[in-house]
Amino acid sequence: MSTKPASERATPWALVTPALLWTLCFFVLPFAAMALTSVTAKDGSFTLSNYAQFFENPSYWRAMVNSLQVTAIVTVVSVLLAYPLAWILAEQVPERFQRLALMLAVLPFWTSYVVRSYSWLLVLAQNGVVNRVLTGSGLFADPVQLANTRLATVIGFVHFFVMLLTLTIFANLKQLSPSYRKAAADLGAGPVRTFIHVILPLTLPGIVVGAFLTFVLAIGDYITPQILGGNNELLMPQLIMMQIGRRGDFPLASALAIILMAVVTVAYLASARWLKIERA
């Protein structure tokens, strides 16, 4: 591919080096430092005890199990909720109003992340809005425990990721060529079968990208479970922050972070074939 003339050859490294250096210095190197820290004992010798702790202490790996469970639920529920909304926006809403409708659907995105979680705590509290409605309508006699549960964590997460996924899935649906839909209809498929056989498979890559993003962001998030979960269980980020915030135990925190990253890597590999960034 050496189509490039001499004049074009001089510059490329100068262009990409800053970004590469930045990534190297502030992403690769930190990761190496973290890896090194995680295997260094107080006296400077090599140790795997931090990793051993994770596997030996059930309450530690319980955090990983919790994290995986919550993240999986969040990812699945968010996709299931967002897809129909994105579909309705893309197919049912008249073209002129689509941008507006989409903007509205993601508007709360721009509230502060911290505040949003806190806000859910108020909404879900014992005498918060939801419980008022539930008891007021006579649906439930007593307030339902919503705040400070895993459910609350999940709701907080889902709220955020439904918006994110609606955005990505909507974009995906819109960039499908309308002739696919026409072709399916033309060959005798009704709306339902057009959806199942054509639209859904064609948007699957976009869904995977969105789901992966959800997975990465959710599994590493500290705020939402910390504010909404009521500490009735710990997720990995909470455990990691606990090591930093309470103990200043960086080696253990590093080890936990690396384990978390390993899990994300597995998820990445599972969805890698859909995650290519290519030029238009």
């Binding site: 590469l20 949003r116 806190y118 806000s119 108020l122 599994i219 972070a257 030029r279």
Partner: protein
């Protein structure tokens, strides 16, 4: 049957909009609460908590810091992202696929881990915590984003536009300045905006990497940990309001561009 489906879709959409807006409505409503607790019954409206927020210098300086970090880190991220995207899209580089993968890798890593890594590294080499350190972290997360957006928009049709400029006698930096940047302006603008949004709202990296001077999300977190009151609602509503204004401004700007 069709009508039924239509009703079903409408109901679903309304329910989901309700879900999406519920916390925002509650947030804004109880920011106007007159009493100490932002829970029903509503006792307002009162603007006392807004006054309290505006009088709180930690929050207002946090706001300034946030703007500083968001603008600064986004500028760096966009610049680096643009230059590298240009380099990779236009020139042949050995190992290009691998290097592109490297630049986008941070996209697949949780913020917490990026923040931790930087914290550990800075500890080791003795770089103190600061707003700048948080800014560095934000660039790490936003650079791949800017790169990916701009890179994906560098279509091959622009290759010829640049070639035409060169062909007509433009030097490399004139090509960059007079042709590439203006032509890529929408993508550059979009990635800058997105980068701003993420930096503006980012908590954990700022939390781990700043000391006295910190960003608004961290100050809000501190505020939150110091007790329950509608001040948090007020500051949240203010941030929301400001963001909306920016978003709308951005929309209008972009809309105008498209029309012309």
């Amino acid at each position: 049957m069709r009508a039924f489906a239509k009703i079903l879709a409408t109901v679903y959409a309304l329910l989901l909009y309700g879900f999406i807006f519920l916390p925002v409505v509650v947030l804004v409503l109880f920011s106007l609460q007159a009493t100490q607790f932002p829970i029903p019954p509503f006792t307002g409206p009162s603007t006392r908590w807004y006054a309290a927020v505006l009088a709180d210098t930690r929050l207002t300086t946090g706001l300034l810091h946030s703007i500083l970090v968001a603008v600064g880190s986004s500028l760096v991220a966009v610049t680096l992202g643009f230059l590298s995207a240009w380099g990779f899209a236009r020139f042949y580089l050995p190992g290009s696929a691998f290097l592109r993968g490297l630049i986008t890798l941070p996209l697949t890593v949780s913020y917490l881990i990026i923040g931790m890594g930087l914290l550990v590294l800075f500890n080791r080499v003795g770089i103190p915590k600061s707003l700048a350190a948080a800014g560095i972290g934000h660039v790490v997360v936003n650079l791949p984003l800017c790169f990916a957006i701009i890179y994906s928009q560098m279509g091959d049709h622009q290759i010829n536009i640049e070639r035409a400029a060169r062909d007509l006698g433009a030097s490399e930096w004139k090509v960059l300045l007079l042709v590439t940047v203006p032509v890529m302006a929408p993508a550059i603008f979009a990635s800058f905006f997105l980068s701003m949004t993420f930096s503006w709202d980012e908590f954990v990296i700022s939390f781990l990497l700043t000391r006295f001077e910190t960003t608004l999300p961290v100050e809000i977190w501190n505020l939150l940990r110091s007790g329950l009151n509608p001040k948090t609602n007020a500051v949240g509503s203010l941030v929301f309001g400001v963001s909306i204004v920016l978003v709308v401004a951005f929309e209008l700007l972009l809309f105008r561009r498209k029309q012309s």
